[in-house]
């Protein structure tokens, strides 16, 4: 092998090393595995919020006042405002909470405002087109006793390649009739994120 061929092979090897030889690679992981890539809000944060809030919510005394009367309180999900610095979909942890609360049998949920509009449209359509026996009647909806509202807040302290991000999720259950706050829960998450300033 002459020197030119050797040199060419060396260059080709180096180029391969730099560019990498694999394309897209996908590994299946368990849904609850913790993988942090960018330091932004992710599924792990969402899950941690849902778990902690749920535990707190079900153990709080507000529920006992209803169960003591033999009632199952009906809850409606209001608005969870995103006041953070990231686009966060609050629906993921709210839906997690909703599902587990319903499955616990301790509370009922009714459809939210936007869901209700769609259901009412369907009911109006049924009134015209469905048979009398199968028709769902208007005016028979369940009213909610309490509303779940909340917000996601964040504080960011950043300098160059380092940042500290603090998230606080606040959720509140409010008695719709009296405006009394029955339960306030919060979950705090703090992350220290560093990034490399140089790479290959």
């Amino acid at each position: 092998m002459n020197r030119m061929t050797l040199r060419f092979s060396g260059l080709a090897m180096a180029a391969l090393l730099i560019s990498g030889c694999a394309g897209t690679k996908v590994d299946r992981v368990t849904h609850d595995s913790v993988i942090d890539l960018s330091g932004r809000w992710n599924d792990t944060d969402s899950r941690l919020v849902a778990e902690e809030m749920l535990r707190d919510c079900l153990n709080a005394p507000w529920l006992n006042t209803y169960t003591a009367q033999g009632k199952v309180p009906t809850v409606i999900v209001g608005t969870v405002r995103n006041r953070s610095h990231e686009h966060i979909n609050a629906e993921t942890f709210v839906k997690d909470m909703e599902r587990t609360l319903i499955n616990s049998g301790k509370v009922d949920f009714v459809a939210s405002r936007t869901e209700r509009d769609e259901i009412r449209d369907e009911k109006a359509d049924q009134a015209e087109n469905a048979s009398v026996e199968t028709r769902s009647l208007a005016g028979e909806e369940s009213g909610a006793d309490v509303m779940l509202i909340g917000s996601i807040n964040s504080i960011v302290d950043k300098e160059g390649s380092r940042s500290v991000v603090f998230y606080q999720v606040n959720l509140e259950l409010v008695n719709i009739e009296t405006n009394r706050k029955l339960w306030i829960g919060d979950k705090k998450i703090k992350k220290y994120v560093t990034r490399s300033a140089t790479g290959l």
């Binding site: 730099i18 995103n82 006041r83 610095h85 686009h87 950043k158 490399s196 300033a197 140089t198 790479g199």
Partner: protein, 483 residues
């Protein structure tokens, strides 16, 4: 470096980078389409020609261009997608590639990925906030304003005096967003900084912005801030703001004219080794200018090593620097006139003239000036490295045949010179000015005539827009006239 290796490297790099400056080609091809106002056609063209127009190092620019064209076309959902991608690409570019930086020292600055100019990245957030406002998602707009705040914090930490550190367009937009969300303190702080920017730069505060600041600062109970900013507030601005049931507001945001672009000034020079650099270039008006500068002479020992006499030997060199490329602007003034709508409290029947809160031309000029030294340093390093390599190659290839020597010398200089291209990438699809016109109106459906006027009130573009206004809320209308 062996002569063959140098020539082969130059030739391969030339094949890879292409002969023409991609940035200049992109400008010529895109601007024609964008100024016809057929923005969707322009997006189809960009998508089809992405590889040729942007190459592999301008992913950020591609997404910013696409996002902006979709915004101009009123396709706000698509614009959100592209701007979000652009923000992600920018985030990923935080880590600088040593390979790219080294390549730029051998080839040209276009070998580095485009990271955007600081004001472009901030405006990316502002335009994304406009998109969220347009689709009725003020929480999304707040996220963008908070991201913009993080950027400004970083700029203020790292920028030198005279460099881009703050922006009244961002501050004013943030004030509108926070005001819309009912967050009085944040709105007041934002408008405070918007006015302070003008005070710090000794520029006149736009009258509408000053009046808005009076209202917000007064509502947030911040009389000290009004005094600190030396605002002369009319009594009407300090009066109690209309209640939610009385009126709403229409905010018309006009994007008028085209931003200037970045052009390339190519210098071709002859370095006379005795200590003189004679160079030629085309100035902004296209005239060829010849000038001379003293340059370091070659020490006799080096001349001896090269096997030639000290006197009379010359080197041909070429270098390119980015420079401001002005473009004519017809759309100068935003006018908004109510055509029809409910009559009631706070109704404004007379036309409102918009006021610019930002001028991208000034910002580009400031950015080029701020980076001139760094660009020049990289250019000089590159030209020196390349010239030394070319001279070595020429020396080693020298033969007894004078004609062959001439061909070799010309060929080597040509290859070396062709690699020299200025980095002319910029977000030239931005509007020249972003203007705001605010109208207080009763709740209901309103029709407005929105006009872009040129010098002397000549009509450039007029559109009729219908907008629904709810009590106590702001409705946003976005209007573009890039001519």
């Amino acid at each position: 470096m062996r002569p063959g290796v140098f020539i082969a490297a130059c030739a391969s790099l030339l094949v890879l980078t292409g002969c023409a400056n991609r940035g200049l080609v992109r400008y010529d091809k895109i601007v024609k389409r964008a100024t016809t106002q057929d923005y969707l056609e322009a997006t189809s063209y960009l998508r089809a020609e992405k590889a040729d127009l942007y190459g592999g190092q301008s992913e950020l620019l591609y997404n910013m261009d696409m996002g902006l064209l979709f915004h101009y076309a009123g396709r706000y959902d698509s614009s959100i997608v592209y701007f979000a991608r652009a923000a992600d690409v920018h985030d990923a570019l935080f880590t600088r590639s040593v390979t790219n930086e080294a390549a730029s020292l051998l080839v040209n600055d276009n070998a580095r990925p485009y990271r955007g100019r600081p004001y472009e990245i901030l405006w990316l957030r502002v335009f994304q906030a406009f998109n969220y406002l347009a689709v009725g998602n003020p929480d999304g707009a707040r996220v963008e304003m908070r991201q913009a705040q993080l950027l400004v914090d970083e700029y203020r930490r790292t920028a030198d005096a005279g460099e881009y550190r703050d922006d009244p367009l961002y501050r004013g937009t943030a004030a509108l967003v926070y005001d819309l969300l009912g967050e009085r303190d944040d709105a007041a702080i934002s408008v405070f900084h918007a006015v302070k920017f003008y005070r710090d730069t000794k520029a006149a505060v736009p009258q509408g912005l000053a009046t808005y600041a009076c209202g917000l600062l007064s509502a947030a109970d911040r009389p000290d801030d009004i005094r600190l900013l030396a605002l002369e507030c009319p009594a009407s601005a300090l009066a109690k703001r209309p209640t939610a049931t009385e009126s709403g507001e229409i905010v018309v945001v006009g994007m008028l004219g085209r931003a200037p672009a970045v052009g390339e000034t190519s210098f071709q020079g002859t370095w006379i080794r005795d200590g003189l650099l004679v160079f030629h270039y085309r100035d902004a008006e296209g005239k060829t200018v010849t000038d001379a500068l003293p340059a370091p002479g070659l020490p006799p020992s080096e001349a001896a090593k090269a096997g030639r006499t000290r006197s009379g030997t010359t080197l041909s060199i070429k270098w390119a620097m980015p420079s401001l490329r002005e473009v004519p602007v017809q759309s100068r003034v935003l006018k908004v006139a109510p055509v029809s709508g409910p009559i009631g409290a706070g109704a404004q029947a007379h036309p409102v003239t918009g006021e610019p809160w930002a001028n991208s031309g000034d910002l580009l000029e400031q950015d080029l000036e701020a980076n001139r030294t760094a660009v020049l340093l990289r250019t000089v390093t590159r030209v020196v490295v390349r010239t030394i390599a070319a001279e070595k190659a020429k020396a080693e290839l020298r033969s007894d045949n004078p004609f062959l020597n001439l061909i070799t010398n010309l060929g080597t200089d040509f290859l070396s010179g062709q690699l020299e291209k200025a980095d002319v990438r910029s977000w030239f699809l931005l509007p020249r000015t972003v203007q705001f016109a605010r109208l207080t109106v009763p709740p209901g459906r309103h029709a407005l005539e929105v006009r872009a006027e040129g010098a002397g009130g000549a009509l450039v573009l007029a559109e009729t827009r219908e907008v629904d206004v709810r009590a106590g809320e702001k409705s946003f209308v976005f209007f573009t006239s890039l001519k």
